[in-house]
C-alpha cells in the first residue's frame, strides 16, 4: 500500500470516526481503523466498528499501490492532527505503516488484518431516499430524550417509523418524551418501525451538511444502513416493541402559557443555581399576570425571579420541573416563543414551538416533580 493525500482532506474525512471506537475495550482489534486503498479507483476507505455500529468512509486519494492495513485509531488520529497542512504519504512495509509528512516520519505497527471484523456489504437496491436536512432535524429534536438506562434497552434508542406519508422519531426516558413528525410523501416499499441506537444516528447527525441533500436508507431485519455522501453507516437495531407512548399525551391541557424562550431560559438558568442537586427542582407559580420562578436548597440558599411579560390563559398553577430536562426541551424549541400546555401540577406538560410549520411538527412532554 502506498498512498499520497492532502492532510486537510484526510483530516476532514476521518475526523468523526474516532467517536465510534468503543470506549470500554472488549476486543482490542476494535481500537483500530481498517484502511483499504484501491489503486484502480484511486480511493481509500477507513472503517471503524464497535460491532454494533460500523462506519465506512471512502474518499479519493492518489493510490500508487493498493493494499490493506489495520492500525491504532488513537495513534493515527493523534498523528494526523499534529501534522502540518501538507501532503501525507502512507507506505505499508511488512508490518509497519509508515506515515511521512514534510520532515516527520512515523512508523505504526499494524494489527493482523484478518482479525478485523467482517464488514457488511453496502446495499444498493431497495434504498429509501430521505431529505438529509430534515433527517438531521429529526435527530436533533429527539436524541436528547433518550434513556441511558440499560435495564430497559428499548428506550436507549430512537423509535423511528416510516409510512407513506409520515416519518416519525420519538425518544423517551420515562420523564420526558420528544416527538418529531414529518408530513410528506415518500416512496417506500413497506411501512417500517425500528428502534435505532443513538450512536450511529449521532454520527450521521455530525456529518450531514447542506450540500448533500439526501440520505439513503436500507432496512434489513436486524440492521439498518445509512448512506450519506462518502459515508456508509451500519447500525444494529434494538429488539423489542416500543410501547404506545401516545397514551401519555394529554388531550385537554387547558392551562396555556406563551412566553419568550430566551427570557425563560435565562431566568431558569439563574434560579437553577440554587436548586437541589438531587432533584434539580425549579418551581413555577404561574397566573395571568406573572410567573414566580424559584428554587431552594436547604443547605445552601434560595433563588427567585419574576417574569411579568407573558401570555397565560388558565387557572393559577404551581408546578415544578427538573430544570435540566426543561432546559433540554427549551434548547430544541425553534420559535422565539415557547408554548406550555399544562393540566394539573401532577400531569405531564406539553411544549410546542409557537410558529407551526406545515411540513413538520415537534412536541415535547415533560413529567413534573411531585410537590409536597
Amino acid at each position: 500500500m502506498k498512498i499520497t493525500i492532502d492532510k486537510q482532506d484526510l483530516q476532514a474525512n476521518i475526523q468523526h470516526l474516532y467517536n465510534i471506537v468503543p470506549s470500554k475495550n472488549t476486543m482490542p482489534i476494535l481500537t483500530n481503523y481498517l484502511i483499504r486503498a484501491d489503486e484502480e479507483r484511486n480511493v481509500v476507505t477507513f472503517t471503524v466498528t464497535d460491532l454494533e455500529i460500523t462506519v465506512i468512509v471512502e474518499f479519493p486519494a492518489s493510490v500508487i499501490d493498493g493494499g490493506t492495513a489495520v492500525v491504532s485509531a488513537k495513534n493515527l488520529t493523534d498523528i494526523i492532527n499534529s501534522l502540518p497542512d501538507r501532503t501525507v504519504h502512507f507506505i505499508l512495509e511488512e508490518e509497519n505503516l509508515r506515515i511521512q509528512c514534510e520532515h516527520s516520519k512515523f512508523n505504526l505497527l499494524c494489527a493482523e488484518t484478518s482479525q478485523f471484523p467482517l464488514i457488511p456489504q453496502k446495499a444498493v437496491e431497495n434504498v429509501i431516499e430521505l431529505d438529509s436536512q430534515m433527517f438531521k432535524k429529526m435527530i436533533d429534536n429527539t436524541h436528547f430524550a433518550v434513556s441511558n438506562e440499560h435495564n430497559r434497552p428499548i428506550f436507549t434508542g430512537i423509535f423511528w417509523k416510516l409510512t407513506n406519508d409520515t416519518q416519525l422519531m420519538v425518544a423517551t426516558d420515562g420523564k420526558k418524551i420528544a416527538e418529531f413528525k414529518i408530513n410528506n410523501l415518500i416512496d417506500i416499499p413497506e411501512e417500517t418501525e425500528q428502534i435505532i441506537p443513538t450512536k450511529g444516528l449521532l454520527f450521521l447527525d455530525k456529518v450531514i451538511r447542506e450540500d448533500i441533500p439526501s440520505v439513503q436508507v436500507h432496512v434489513e431485519p436486524n440492521r439498518v444502513m445509512f448512506s450519506y455522501g462518502n459515508y456508509t453507516i451500519f447500525s444494529h437495531i434494538i429488539e423489542g416493541k416500543f410501547p404506545d407512548y401516545t397514551r401519555a399525551i394529554p388531550a385537554n391541557n387547558t392551562n396555556i402559557l406563551k412566553i419568550s424562550k430566551t427570557l425563560l431560559k435565562d431566568a431558569v438558568k439563574r434560579v437553577s443555581l440554587m436548586a437541589s442537586d438531587e432533584t434539580f427542582k425549579v418551581r413555577f407559580d404561574i397566573n395571568a399576570s406573572r410567573i414566580d420562578i424559584s428554587s431552594a436548597n436547604r443547605e445552601e440558599g434560595e433563588a427567585n425571579e419574576v417574569i411579568e411579560d407573558l401570555n397565560y390563559i388558565g387557572d393559577p398553577i404551581t408546578i415544578a420541573f427538573n430544570y435540566r430536562y426543561l432546559n433540554a426541551i427549551l434548547n430544541v424549541i425553534e420559535s422565539n416563543e415557547v408554548e406550555f400546555r399544562m393540566g394539573k401540577a401532577t400531569e405531564p406538560a406539553l411544549f410546542f414551538n409557537t410558529e407551526q410549520k406545515d411540513d413538520y411538527t415537534a412536541r415535547f412532554l415533560l413529567m413534573p416533580l411531585r410537590l409536597n
Partner: protein, 369 residues
C-alpha cells in the same frame, strides 16, 4: 460564626476500653477487638498497650498477631458499645441540643448557647468528661475551640484522657507547629504528597498560595488552605443523613468460583433489601465492590431507572456487574454491595414522576454487555 464554642468529644480506645471495664482480666495486657488472628478480619480497636507494638485500627488481625503474638483478641460486644454510646449522648444532651454524632464514639457539640448557661466551653468539657467517667467508668478526650476542625485536632492532642483548648489567638501558633499528618482530613497519601513538596508542618503549608495548592491537590487544596488558617465554617449538624447503605462479605479463603460468589451476592442482596425496608429507603445506584486476593480493590456501579430495594434486582445487578468486570482467573477475597442515591419514603415531596407506559416495560437485568 467567629465566636462559636465547639467541643469535640472522643472516647479513648472505645471498644477496647469497654472490654477492659467489663473484663478485669484483660486489663494491663495488649487487647485487640476485631477479627481473630487466624481469620482475615481486621483490628477494629486496640488498647494503648497494644498500640505500643505498632498495632492500629484497620490493620489486618494477622499482621497484628505477628507484631504481638501475646495480645488478646476478642470479637467485641456491640450491644454493650451501643449502650455506652447512648449513655454518653444523653450526657451531651444535658448541655446542648446541637450534637452531631460522628460515629459511635465521637461527637461534635456546639455549646455557644447551652442549657445550663455556662459561659466557659472549657468548663462544659470538663464537666462532660467527669460525668462520662462517673456514669460509664470510661475516659474520653475533649477538644475545645471555635470550629469543628480545631476542636477535633485538639481532642486528638492530649489523648488519652485529656483535654485541650485552642483559643482563636492560639490557633495560628498551634497549627503552625502541627505536623501535617496530624491535620484531620489529611490522610497518609496526601501527607506523603505534601512531604514530597517539602510541606511538613502547618507553618510550611501556610506559606503556599491557594492557587498552587489547588494545582497540586484540586478541591482538597482549598480545604488545606482554609484549615491551616483556622477557617472552618462547617456548622454542627444535628440531623445526619445516610448517604449509602452497604454490606460485604470477606471469605475465609479466596474464592474463584463464580457460582459461589453469586450465592454470596444473593445473600447480601437479601440482607440489604431487608435492612432498607426496615429503614424505609430505596436506592437508585448499586455499587459492587471486589477485593482481589492481592488486595487490589475495584468498584463498579450502575443506576436503576427508579429507586428500588428489591432483593432480586439487587442481587442480579450485582451478579451482572461481577460477570462483566471480574478479571479472568482472579480470586476474590471480599465482595460487597453498596446502595446509594437513596430515596426516603417519608419524604414524599420532590419526586420526579414517570410515565406509566414506561414503568410497565419490565427491566431487563440480563442485559449485560
Amino acid at each position: 460564626m467567629s465566636c462559636r464554642k465547639i467541643i469535640h468529644v472522643d472516647m479513648d480506645a472505645f471498644f477496647a476500653a469497654v472490654e477492659m471495664r467489663d473484663h478485669p482480666e484483660y486489663r494491663g495486657k495488649p487487647l485487640i477487638v476485631g477479627g481473630k488472628p487466624d481469620s482475615r478480619g481486621v483490628v477494629s480497636t486496640c488498647n494503648y498497650e497494644a498500640r505500643k507494638y505498632g498495632i492500629h485500627s484497620a490493620m489486618p488481625s494477622s499482621q497484628a498477631y505477628r507484631l504481638c503474638p501475646q495480645a488478646l483478641f476478642v470479637r467485641g460486644n456491640f450491644d454493650a458499645y451501643r449502650e455506652v454510646s447512648q449513655q454518653v449522648r444523653e450526657i451531651f444532651y444535658q448541655y446542648t441540643d446541637l450534637v452531631e454524632p460522628v460515629s459511635i464514639d465521637e461527637a461534635y457539640l456546639d455549646v455557644t448557647e447551652n442549657i445550663p448557661g455556662i459561659a466557659s466551653a472549657t468548663e462544659i468539657a470538663r464537666q462532660i468528661r467527669a460525668r462520662i467517667r462517673e456514669k460509664t467508668k470510661l475516659t474520653a478526650s475533649a477538644g475545645v475551640s471555635y470550629c469543628k476542625f480545631l476542636a477535633k485536632v485538639a481532642s486528638d492532642f492530649n489523648k488519652p484522657d485529656g483535654i485541650c483548648v485552642i483559643t482563636p489567638s492560639q490557633a495560628e501558633d498551634f497549627l503552625a507547629k502541627l505536623p501535617v499528618g496530624k491535620f484531620h482530613g489529611i490522610g497518609k497519601v496526601s501527607e506523603r504528597k505534601l512531604r514530597n513538596l517539602g510541606i511538613k508542618t502547618g507553618a510550611d503549608l501556610k506559606r503556599w498560595e491557594l492557587k498552587d495548592l489547588l494545582k497540586h491537590f484540586g478541591k482538597a487544596g482549598c480545604y488545606y488552605y482554609n484549615i491551616v488558617r483556622g477557617i472552618d465554617d462547617r456548622p454542627v449538624r444535628t440531623s445526619w443523613t445516610r448517604k449509602s447503605i452497604g454490606m460485604e462479605r470477606t471469605y475465609a479463603t479466596d474464592v474463584a468460583d463464580m457460582e459461589e460468589m453469586k450465592q454470596s451476592l444473593e445473600k447480601i442482596g437479601k440482607k440489604l433489601s431487608d435492612s432498607m425496608a426496615k429503614k424505609g429507603i430505596r436506592a437508585r445506584t448499586i455499587t459492587l465492590k471486589i477485593k482481589y486476593d492481592n488486595f487490589q480493590l475495584n468498584t463498579r456501579a450502575l443506576s436503576f431507572p427508579e429507586p428500588t430495594r428489591d432483593a432480586k434486582i439487587i442481587s442480579h445487578s450485582a451478579a451482572k456487574l461481577l460477570e462483566k468486570h471480574l478479571g479472568t482467573d482472579r480470586s476474590v477475597r471480599l465482595l460487597g454491595i453498596s446502595m446509594s442515591h437513596l430515596h426516603r419514603e417519608e419524604v414524599s415531596c420532590d419526586i420526579q414522576m414517570i410515565f406509566d407506559f414506561f414503568k410497565k416495560v419490565p427491566w431487563k437485568l440480563d442485559e449485560g454487555r
